[in-house]
């Protein structure tokens, strides 16, 4: 008998084993939902799959009686817009500041301690400050995401920049490059794929800040919706929304990975 650590599942088995936990969860859910429904027809805690499908149909394919919008899609649109704006701003700041500090010691000296200190502030703790400073509109929600993920991005890019082999920078100097040219042609192109990696890692936190901001002060968005219908214990809407958010997060991450593979094949071959 071979050792357990050497036993590899075949491809088919591996795929099957991967699906089983998901099926199990669905089964356990269905089973418990059935039990509760048998006891109380009106139970709202574990809605059946038909009820959830009905919830989705009402939210996504019927115009709202109040506003006439298809709320599910409107919520998705607002949330994605906030998330994308926040991430884009944070990535731009992270790239510029991180790169400058990583490449130029005279910039990193005054900046590094400050960034470390800022990154230790829990972003949620300054959410009230943001609301006071930027009002309750879109800006404060986007700012929460920016402030939440920016320090991480800056520190990560700074470190990645400093990790580039010293030999490359010396070589670039012997090729006659000045500081600006070396940053533009040698450092920047190698840092962009690393920025995509860092953004992928920070997406989880970005979603957290988005939903928190929407839950507290908003009139639309995915986070707003699930916190709104919580008052009516509408699990038939909350659960599909959570699945949808998860799906969006997964898709975004997957797209970034694909994009990076297509644009920077050399980066992925190197690893």
């Amino acid at each position: 008998m071979r050792r357990l650590i050497n036993l590899q599942p075949s491809r088919v088995l591996k795929a099957a084993l991967g699906i089983i936990p998901f099926l199990l969860i669905l089964l356990v859910y269905q089973f418990n939902s059935d039990i509760r429904k048998a006891e109380n027809e009106q139970d709202r805690l574990l809605p059946s799959f038909t009820e959830m499908a009905d919830g989705v149909r009402r939210m996504a394919f019927e115009p709202s009686q109040r506003t006439g919008d298809y709320e599910f899609w409107e919520d998705t649109k607002s949330s994605i817009k906030r998330l994308a704006t926040g991430i884009a701003i944070a990535a731009a700041i992270g790239l510029i500041v991180g790169l400058a500090a990583g490449a130029i010691p005279l910039i990193s000296a005054p900046l590094s301690p400050l960034i470390t200190a800022i990154s230790l502030i829990p972003p949620m703790a300054i959410l009230p400050v943001l609301f006071i400073a930027f009002g309750l509109g879109e800006l404060s929600k986007v700012m929460l995401i920016v402030i939440g993920v920016c320090p991480f991005l800056i520190r990560d890019i700074l470190q990645r920049t400093q990790e580039l082999p010293r030999e490359q920078l010396v070589k670039a100097q012997t090729l006659g490059g000045n500081s600006w040219q070396i940053i533009l042609r040698v450092i920047l192109p190698q840092i962009v794929p690393r920025l995509i990696d860092a953004v992928r890692l920070s997406l989880g936190a970005a979603w957290l800040f988005l939903i928190a901001a929407e839950a507290i002060a908003s009139t639309d968005g995915l986070g707003y919706r699930i916190f709104l219908v919580r008052r009516y214990m509408s699990m038939d809407i909350i659960l599909p929304y959570v699945v949808w958010i998860t799906f969006l997060a997964f898709t975004l991450d997957w797209c970034l990975l694909k994009l990076s593979r297509v644009i920077f094949p050399w980066y992925h071959a190197e690893k």
């Binding site: 082999p165 030999e167 490359q168 010396v170 070589k171 670039a172 100097q173 012997t174 090729l175 006659g176 490059g177 000045n178 600006w180 040219q181 533009l184 042609r185 040698v186 192109p189 190698q190 920077f264 094949p265 050399w266 980066y267 071959a269 190197e270």
Partner: protein
């Protein structure tokens, strides 16, 4: 011909750690100097002094009569053992970069006809190092030997006066190393370079250069190994055709290096 590179009572130390001590030598233009010695003997430190990434602690290191610039510059090309090429550029772009840095101050990038001319120059060099077939490949698609060929082409496009090689073939298979030796010798003659090459391999040092320097410590304090630095203990001209003499010298140096290794 007068001295091109001049070492005048050159010493290098980091705080209490003396690495190089009292080096005195002259090198003429067009010489091929190989630097050998046990690990930690300061031969790579000396190369970095020539490169300008380290500075001399006392004494002088002169190039054409002037102190060598304290920063890497195009007149001194370099090939490291690893990481000499840029992974995000293909072979051609790697070589052309040296031209683009000069001709395009702000973008570091050429377009149109100027780019075409630059590419033609690069292709010429790539042919010289035997990489014309791999022009459009990226470094990760190249073998170790081909990457070093590329690094050589990259350095040569600047027409450097000095070429510095820091164990350039240390990571290559013996067969490929042989090919690279021939290539370097050819380029050295063709471009009239002055070469300094650090190597681990004593035999390589003997085969390639016109001159061999052995770095070793003359004085050793067993209680404070860093008190005394290395110096050039052998300065051997390899031009002589007398093979027996060379072999005798090789054996002697080998013996010396071994005993030095043991006492350390």
């Amino acid at each position: 011909m007068s001295a091109f590179i001049q070492l005048d009572h050159l010493s290098k130390h980091y705080r209490d750690n003396v690495v190089l001590e009292n080096l005195n030598c002259e090198v003429r233009e067009g010489e091929f100097v190989t630097l050998v010695g046990a690990s930690g003997c300061g031969k790579s430190t000396f190369l970095r002094l020539l490169l300008g990434t380290e500075s001399v602690s006392s004494g002088q290191l002169l190039m054409a009569g002037k102190p060598i610039e304290q920063e890497p510059s195009p007149d001194r090309g370099i090939v490291f053992q690893r990481y000499s090429v840029f992974p995000h550029l293909n072979v051609r772009e790697n070589v052309v970069l040296g031209i683009e840095f000069v001709e395009s101050k702000w973008l570091g990038r050429l377009f149109g006809k100027r780019r075409k001319d630059a590419l033609a120059q690069a292709d010429e060099l790539l042919a010289a190092v035997g990489l014309e077939q791999a022009r459009f490949k990226y470094p990760h698609e190249l073998s170790g030997g081909m990457q070093q060929r590329l690094a050589l082409a990259q350095a040569l496009i600047k027409r450097p006066k000095i070429l510095l090689l820091d164990e350039p073939f240390g990571a290559l298979d013996p067969g490929i190393r042989k090919e690279m030796h021939e290539l370097v010798m050819g380029l050295w003659r063709q471009y009239g370079l002055t070469i300094f090459m650090v190597t681990h391999d004593l035999k390589e040092g003997f085969e390639l250069g016109t001159r061999l320097w052995v770095f070793d410590k003359v004085r050793v304090d067993p209680h404070a190994p860093n008190r005394f630095g290395s110096t050039i203990t052998y300065d051997l001209s390899l031009n002589s055709k007398d093979k027996a003499l060379k072999i005798a010298a090789l054996d002697e140096i080998k013996g010396r290096l071994h005993t030095a290794d043991r006492t350390e």
